[in-house]
């Protein structure tokens, strides 16, 4: 099904692999690959695409936080992007990291951004060209806005307040992480949290449920059945999404905000690696 036939609230947020193939040489478009796997981009990428790496480019190297205004400005100048540049993100794992990068870009208000539907997997499956050449760009004079954490980001005290108010939460981790049983699995690396389980009352919708078999996003009807019917979320209420460090939940933030058109979705990027280590906060175990 074509993107425009899927009933999304903001279909313009997605572009197809065909569209990207037609815009490889468009100077107004910057194609950005963001992956979980650090070896993927250098092993071959969409010709002309630049890599923005979550660990090296988007995180503060010292504090647990994202890059600041100055860091974002440097990044945008380095990849030769101006205010008018359309940034098209794509990546591995059905665009999981691509939506994370898009979310961080939105903290700085660069809303001229898109996601390539189907991500890296679809591009490769369609046997399209890849290149190992790393492009360089004429640095731009991009002037970054200050980072605004109020609209899209939730912090722990806000999540506690949200919980007290009975606001809806979506935990997008796997059922084993949600129930806390994975904490007790032998021969499994530590998950970075001292306690297993979830925030009380959270809905468990693993992020990948929003994705169809071919890696593209499911239609609005299918997504609505999951998030509106099954979880009982409504479009105008405050919703908080979280996972382990906020990466998978940015995928669900993207789905709720752009594909279903929810107005007030925030990503709790502290997520379980914060909550599961906090002293005295409520934790629920089990399915």
């Amino acid at each position: 099904m074509k993107i425009e036939e899927r009933g999304y609230a903001h279909p313009e947020i997605l572009v197809s692999t065909d569209w990207v193939a037609d815009h490889l040489d468009d100077p107004g478009v910057r194609i950005v690959e963001s992956n979980e796997d650090p070896l993927l981009y250098p092993s071959g990428h969409i010709p002309g695409a630049v890599e923005v790496d979550w660990t090296r480019d988007l995180n503060d190297p010292v504090r647990r936080d994202y890059l600041d205004q100055e860091g974002f400005q440097k990044l945008m100048r380095r990849i030769g992007a101006t205010k008018d540049t359309t940034i098209v993100f794509y990546g591995d794992k059905n665009n999981w990291w691509a939506t994370y990068a898009l979310w961080v870009f939105q903290l700085f208000g660069h809303d001229n951004a898109r996601i390539m539907d189907g991500g890296r997997g679809k591009w490769v499956a369609e046997d399209r060209d890849v290149s190992r050449e790393v492009p360089t760009f004429e640095p731009s004079d991009y002037v970054a806005a200050e980072r605004d954490d109020t609209r899209l980001r939730a912090f722990r005290d806000q999540v506690l307040g949200h919980l007290r108010d009975g606001g809806p939460l979506v935990d997008v981790r796997s059922p084993e992480e949600f129930s806390g049983e994975r904490m007790h699995m032998p021969d499994y690396p530590n998950e970075g949290a001292l306690r297993g389980g979830h925030i009380p009352g959270a809905n468990n919708v693993p992020w990948g449920r929003a994705v169809a078999d071919d890696g593209t996003f499911k239609s609005a009807d299918e997504l609505s059945a999951i998030y509106r019917d099954e979880c009982g979320l409504s479009d105008d209420e405050e919703v908080v999404v979280y996972c382990r460090i906020g990466e998978r939940s940015s995928h669900t933030w993207f789905v709720l905000s752009y594909l279903l058109g929810f107005d007030k979705v925030r990503n709790y990027d502290g997520s379980w690696t914060e909550w599961g280590n906090l002293v005295g906060v409520p934790v629920e175990k089990g399915a």
Binding site: L40, T55, P189
Partner: protein, 146 residues
């Protein structure tokens, strides 16, 4: 603490590649020599008990007794995009197959940072550490169950 000899050799080689790009090229080259678990050891659909928990690349591990008290390690990586998982599988096969099992058991999981560098995301590092855990778990299983 000492690593199995071949693992130490590999880490020494990587230490000669201080540039991130060189290290990455080296690891990508390794991933290209990845070979699936041979059919006589396992066939699809692979049994769940061989799956690496938490590895998004859908990796599987087998320890085949070599007859001299050591093991030959086999891997499958079902995610076609799993370059790092394939690279680590090649490394673990070359470095640990034939090594004394007690040395295999002592390999610290965080050796992945010596191999891949410190820029791994948390999920990725857990998946890769999970592969080492699984190699050790499969070794232990073979030693206890025969």
């Amino acid at each position: 603490m000492s690593y199995p000899e071949k693992l130490q050799d590999l880490l020494d080689t990587l230490a000669l590649l201080p540039e991130r790009n060189d290290r990455i090229e080296f690891l990508i080259d390794l991933s290209e020599s990845f070979e699936d678990v041979p059919a006589e050891v396992a066939q699809r659909p692979f049994p769940e008990e061989h799956r690496v928990p938490g590895c998004e690349s859908e990796a599987f591990v087998w320890a085949e007794p070599a007859g001299d008290g050591t093991f030959r390690y086999h891997f499958a990586v079902e995610n076609p995009q799993g370059v790092s998982a394939r690279s680590l599988a090649v490394i673990l096969d070359r470095a640990l197959s034939g090594a004394p099992p007690e040395e295999v058991q002592r390999v610290p999981q965080d050796v992945i940072y010596e191999i891949f560098g410190n820029e791994l995301s948390m999920g990725k590092s857990m998946g890769l550490m999970g592969m080492i855990c699984k190699v050790q778990a499969e070794t232990k299983k073979q030693l206890t169950d025969g």
